[in-house]
């Protein structure tokens, strides 16, 4: 009977999962683009840029996600009408920007100084050196640390529940209200769905990490 309920409600759960994935993709994309810009500003920028970058990053890493989501929806909503989905993307995207900037800053700073010197020495401008030499090396190192960010943001999408985004967790909640009970089993199915997406995503990132390795510099297998 419970099996029947679950099977009947699978389409709703999949709808919710799809919303969660859209939310995840949007917030990660925002975090990727702005996190990379923030990291470049923090590493190469004028001190004013560095300082404001650092301030942004400290603030958005220091606030609970839930508070950010509430601020973006109800706070911003005071001045400007905003739907729950974009409010959640904004809140989580800002937070992800702060976290991803740290990933990018780390991999950019890990590129040996001599690489830039060599690029400059053949006549590249600073921007060309970063574009053709630093970033191609730095970005290869991203998938490893980025998989952490992927996992934690996937789980954070469930917080959009509180402002009424009908994502996976909320769909689960609806099923529980409409079928009276079955709390543990329904949430277990919901949990399983998050887990599978997480696992698949990490597998893809692991593959990407392998594919991007520079020949001769691969990490030693601990055999």
């Amino acid at each position: 009977m419970i099996v029947e309920i679950i099977i009947n409600h699978i389409p709703y759960l999949l709808d919710g999962l799809w919303v969660a994935i859209q939310l995840l993709v949007c917030l990660l994309a925002i975090g990727f683009v702005f996190g990379l810009l923030l990291a470049l500003a923090e590493v190469y920028g004028h001190w004013t840029l560095r300082a404001s970058g650092m301030a942004f990053e400290r603030v958005f890493r220091g606030i609970p996600e839930l508070v950010l989501i509430l601020m973006c929806f109800y706070g911003v909503g005071n001045w400007y009408p905003i739907e729950p989905f974009p409010a959640a993307v904004l809140a989580l995207g800002l937070r992800s920007t702060a976290y991803q900037s740290q990933i990018f800053r780390g991999v950019i700073q890990a590129v040996p100084k001599g690489q830039i010197a060599a690029a400059r020495a053949i006549g590249m401008s600073g921007v060309q050196a970063v574009r053709y030499v630093v970033l191609p090396q730095a970005l290869r190192q991203v998938p490893g640390p980025w998989s952490n960010e992927f996992s934690s943001e996937l789980k954070a999408t469930s917080l959009a529940y509180v402002i009424g985004v009908v994502e996976l967790t909320r769909q689960g909640r609806y099923i529980i209200s409409s079928t009276q009970g079955n709390i543990l089993i329904v949430f277990a199915v919901v949990a399983l769905m998050y887990f599978v997406v997480n696992w698949l995503g990490n597998r893809v990132l692991y593959r990407a990490e392998r594919a991007l390795e520079i020949p001769g510099l691969e990490r030693r297998e601990s055999d």
Binding site: P112, G114, A119, A121, G123, V133, Q137, I214, L217
Partner: protein
């Protein structure tokens, strides 16, 4: 004069590393700069292509002042070979050499790679074109980095201790390549203690100490009969270290 270096001073805070160094290099000439470590030899090379801009003094290439405004064009004409190679780690040997012509001279990829292959042949590395830096020995990496410099068709190449980071048995292959370039008429300014190279390939040896040029002269004279005591003492020291070949 192709390269005219005039009264270069370089200060790091209170410490003056270069105290007024001048030298000239005619087209096709090879000069070797020697001197004790900490004397400012590498700093001088880095001042010439402004990887570390001089505190005062001027450098002219073919009569044109090298300055911040034209530095990226000038560096295409004044190539630099690093002590520790600094090959681009994410690129194969071939693409390391093709990078400059492709990104800076607007060559098509295929054309740039063809040129790169020729330059790799010139340094005897054509069979390693597909290898990545981490898969090459130090000597091989340095030869690729010389090919990378050559591919820009520079007016002059600055060599900053090109064999110092190599195991002794690997210096020979690099020195051989450099000798070949010198006899091909490439203009070279080389910071190195390879006496054998200096004797066979240099038009002049410049001996530096304490931020000054102490003396300059043809290799036979500097090695055989240095005028300055300091030069003689220095040559004796490196002879004892077994670097004379």
């Amino acid at each position: 004069m192709l390269l005219d270096v005039k009264d270069i001073h370089k200060k790091y805070g209170e410490i003056e590393v270069l105290k007024g160094v001048s030298l000239t290099l005619a087209r096709g000439e090879t000069k070797v700069i020697m001197g004790p470590s900490g004397t400012g030899k590498s700093t001088l090379l880095r001042c010439i292509n402004r990887l570390s801009p001089p505190t005062s003094g001027e450098v002219f290439l073919d009569g044109e002042l090298i300055c911040d405004a034209n530095i990226n064009e000038m560096r295409q004409k004044v190539a630099f070979v690093f002590q520790d190679f600094n090959l681009f780690l994410h690129l194969s040997a071939l693409d390391n050499v093709a990078m400059g012509p492709m990104r800076l001279k607007g060559m098509k990829r295929a054309e740039a790679r063809e040129l790169a292959m020729q330059e790799l042949e010139r340094v005897g590395m054509q069979t390693h074109a597909a290898s990545y830096p981490a898969q090459l020995s130090g000597g091989q990496q340095q030869r690729v980095s010389i090919a990378r410099a050559l591919a820009m068709k520079p007016e002059v190449i600055l060599f900053d201790e090109p064999t110092s980071a190599l195991d002794p048995e690997l210096t020979g292959e690099v020195v051989t390549v450099m000798q070949k370039l010198a006899s091909d008429g490439i203009t070279m300014l080389v910071v190195s203690h390879e006496i054998g190279f200096a004797r066979r390939a240099a038009d002049a040896i410049i001996f530096m100490e304490g931020g000054h040029v102490i003396e300059e002269g043809p290799p036979e004279q500097i090695i055989g009969a240095p005028r300055q005591d300091r030069t003689r003492e220095f040559l004796n020291v490196i002879a004892e270290e077994g670097q004379i070949s």
